[in-house]
Subunit: 340 residues, 4 copies
């Protein structure tokens, strides 16, 4: 099988290529981009020498056609048109936000403009979603923060142990912002500093977290989400808390998480007392999880660490693509990370 | 006036010395430490060349006596004895935890052993505390996390705008852990990684936050506190949230914070829409604050950035010492930081 | 006395302001910039709250006139015109390169275009230069790399102990590149990576090092210079080596360095066996030096650590300005750094 | 085939395991260590979840016997005894220094004590060495710095273009120092700082560089080597310079390097004008190389970037083991890195 990657010069595109290079059943076909069209991939992804001399084409339906799967790692708003022109038989895996939200109202509130619809949501670990991804021809890859926060909390909600007043505070590495030339992303600004941004319910990943947890809980879940930027290139650490349903015990909580991760290849509940660090997951498709019950405060605290570019974007995309293409879900996806 | 510094070879001790070197009214007397006694200060604080040849003495009451103020930057448990032997006339400013908590039950629960008592709490910004510090001869310097979280949230509680179900998630630089030779503090482990620790209501700074906010709110405040370690040497970013009291408006919230910071030399409410970064405060005694109302989630979100070694420890200690010694509160304390 | 700062929104401008805020004899007058004109300083220098509400003016001779000293922290090529229009009585301290080189041929080779001339060179530690700076009305502040490399090696050349085949390899923090929006300066690219650039004798600071060392040696000195970018915001570590003149002993070398630094307020020869780290000098105007004789390889190896923004730019500028204005050379310049 | 790893709890051991997990022909047998014996591997290598529950045994000949290959990642001095007791048929790949140097005098000068001998040197790229590694049963893995410096300069010496007065200045990530609990390796000390150490011809990797380059040059090569510590976990950037032999042209130099890398799977000469960054090689067994002729200074400047744990240690070890075991040299070794 053959994959095209649109947005090959960016960070998400680079990670898709890195993973696809190790994928035994999916080869790398056309690479496209916007302003980088016509240049060598090596100029943008110097860590991928085996693809250095590939020429990047312009992102057009023609360039992307003829592949079994097309991965889109593009700015918001470009997916719908491309998808319409690529036909229903091509698997399209969109790493952007265009088709993540089911609520048109949420879409308009957080993104502005008109809702384009929703595609099958590429988080196989979310109860009931894996089946919908098998054979799918359109997949919306979750946002990186929603991936981390949802994986941290869904076992508690699935087991009916948590109340829907959720607080998520997450630290992300700078690659989450892409290769954007913004002053606040310069190394001089980022190193030695943690900063908050998008505070107060305005970050676009908020409704996506609510959508996921609401689906699991079976009742509306509200999320107060604060993202922060940390001085590292990769990784998300999401600290997630919700009031414990009265009567919940630490043992019941642990059991709920053990049950939730039992058959999941990429979820890893750490031994009791060990807390996630993003360094556990660099370059891996693994989510490292831990949970505890704060009896004083009456709250469940769950923490997830992922690599925002791997499980949070490109790895998650390939995991769902594997399902859609009838391949083993784990194929080509590293479980072990690169550390220290 | 002359100051002795006990614990001069550690990070808090080094910051005390750095600040005292710029203090116009307090000179530096005896320096003491434990296992570093007998060595040159330059071996431990190579960034302080003007003190490099000072010899560190052993921490004893004799070595520390004869000073107007003694700063203790020692491991927990050593302050009570030293204080008893230094006499009631010497100002003792304890950067450790021994005398921070008023509740003996909390002390025993979180620290173990017997409660030694409480000294005037060195956070002048906390309503009603500044007066108690003037002329004091014993001061308990707040913990670094409680300093950040309390400064972030006290205006909301003081104005009756917040409900007492608080969630605090804070990222700290590694210097907060001192110069301890622990594997998880090695550069190789820390760089490129954010990690959680002390999760679930077990961190010792939790009851101190509750004590402060309860005093301001006039009713019991519970805090769910999660500390995280970030890949930087200095700085704390505390993201703090509490349910908004019904009817609270964004305007009322802003006004409460403007009122709270108005006469405070070290509190800086950022312009609306600008969120704190720890880089704003490196080496400064300033706390950078911002607040907003998340109307969707019904929560106030307040963020504070401080330098854990300056406002969070040594700067806070000198600020309170200034008050106790009858000096201007701001004397010798930098308002501006070192960036980028 | 009053200073204007042109280029106040950049990193060098910010450091000039930070230091001037602590200067007892020079107040801060007009602040100017290019594209940032009309904005609040706080938008660009959030670490300087005491100047946050100052409005930046456009860089024009009119805006800069009426000050005792004008610091220029501008892109190359703008200084000559401004200087011509500010008059001979105003002290102009140029942090840019326009007037550093005395050789027109070198200027044209490395910078292109026509040589504008040379101003008194603001490195008072260089033998014979301090006197030329007293009362000067034009000063060319050295480049950051030449400052580090010259301070590392001039004692050896001044004492006739080194041969003129010099190799300098230096690591710089990213602030040396200014606040430029270039992809290679993004945090995601910089963190976790050391990279070489400007290799092979093409970096513009090369002829400046040669000019300085040639002047001290009294014969032509050639420098092979390689700059590298390190994952930190501030600091330069310059490793400098030259063949030892036959017969040189370690004792003679040590003595030459001790003599060279003896009366220099900002040069600090570390105790034998201790090697410089940039963390020793963050925010300080100090250069930390060490030297040794590699008898196997027949080479002197000298290492200097400075803060590129302080001693390497803004601190060096103020040091020379102090001399020019008849003030004590050390006035307002920190000897101690901020660490860890 | 099956491999044992001695020293499995350290950084080199962890990298060996990470790579072996992806090796199609070598399985992972016994894991041993010293003080960590009896613990789970997951406690030490949390990034390797698929091996988390493996129990580490004590490092004894018995535990290590019965494997096709034994990788030793141990402190110096333990290899000789273990090798003697494991028999001549087992392939032993020593990541330590014990058998790297052929000169007993150099050994005693730099390491002290008696020389244990020399094993085939595991740098297949060094002219003439690949053949000696095929079928070998003892391999000395090169030091990380010598790997980088040798790869940077051997093409110039092999082609007779360089004179033997070499200067190497290299920046290393902190993992090169292992998981040692030393104060200068704490995150608080390392972040934001570049420092020099082992200056003046005393670093133990110096004679190893000389040995390699002397062998290639066919005449004695002297190396002035200065290592520096950079604020990153992984990576070495080695800047290497030697006088150009009179008459050398840039074209001849380029051609020599193109020839040298032509059939080498892990050497990558970057396009002209592109200089190595360690981020290009994180987690990969690739060395990124570039070279230029500085005609002003009359010097060749060559720069190599490697991952100190991969090509510099564990990857290099497996590359040589592949040769010794009759496997394809590239087997199981990543060419592409993890970035950003």
């Amino acid at each position: 099988m053959k994959a095209a990657v649109a947005g090959a010069s960016g960070y998400a595109g680079g990670e898709l290529l890195r993973l696809l290079l190790g994928h035994p059943s999916i080869g790398i076909g056309t690479l496209t981009a916007g302003s980088s069209a016509g240049t060598r991939l090596g100029e943008h992804q110097p860590h991928l020498p085996t693809l250095a001399d590939r020429i990047i084409e312009e992102t057009t339906p023609e360039a992307l056609s003829g592949h079994d799967v097309v991965f889109l790692a593009l700015p918001h708003g470009q997916s719908a048109d491309l998808a319409a022109r690529l036909g229903q038989d091509t698997l399209i895996v969109d790493c952007g936000a265009d088709f993540r939200l089911t609520s048109a109202a949420d879409w308009t509130h957080f993104y502005g403009g008109e809702h384009a619809g929703a595609w099958p949501y590429g988080l196989p670990e979310l109860p009931g979603r894996r089946e919908r991804l098998r054979g799918a021809r359109r997949i919306a890859v979750p946002g990186c923060y929603p991936t981390a926060a949802t994986l941290a909390l869904f076992p508690a909600f699935a087991a009916g142990l948590a109340e829907p007043d959720v607080v998520v505070v997450a630290a992300s590495g700078t690659s989450g912002a892409g290769r954007s030339l913004k002053p606040n992303l310069l190394g001089s600004e980022v190193m030695g500093s943690v900063s908050a941004y998008g505070v107060g319910g305005v970050h676009r990943h908020t409704p996506e977290m609510e959508q996921n947890l609401t689906a699991v809980a079976g009742r509306p879940v509200r999320v107060s989400f604060t993202p922060t930027l940390a001085p590292m290139s990769r990784g998300i650490l999401a600290t997630c808390t919700a009031p414990a349903t009265p009567g919940v015990t630490a043992a019941a909580l642990r059991e709920a998480y053990e049950t939730a991760v039992k058959d999941e290849p990429f979820l890893r509940l750490l031994p009791e007392g060990v807390w996630p660090a993003t360094a556990m997951t660099v370059g891996a498709n693994t989510a490292a999880l831990q949970v505890t019950l704060d009896e004083r405060a009456g709250r469940i605290v769950a923490v997830a660490a992922i690599d925002n570019l791997t499980k949070g974007t490109a790895g998650g995309a390939i995991q769902s693509a594997n399902l859609a293409l009838g391949l083993p879900e784990e194929l080509g996806l590293p479980l072990n990370g690169v550390a220290p």
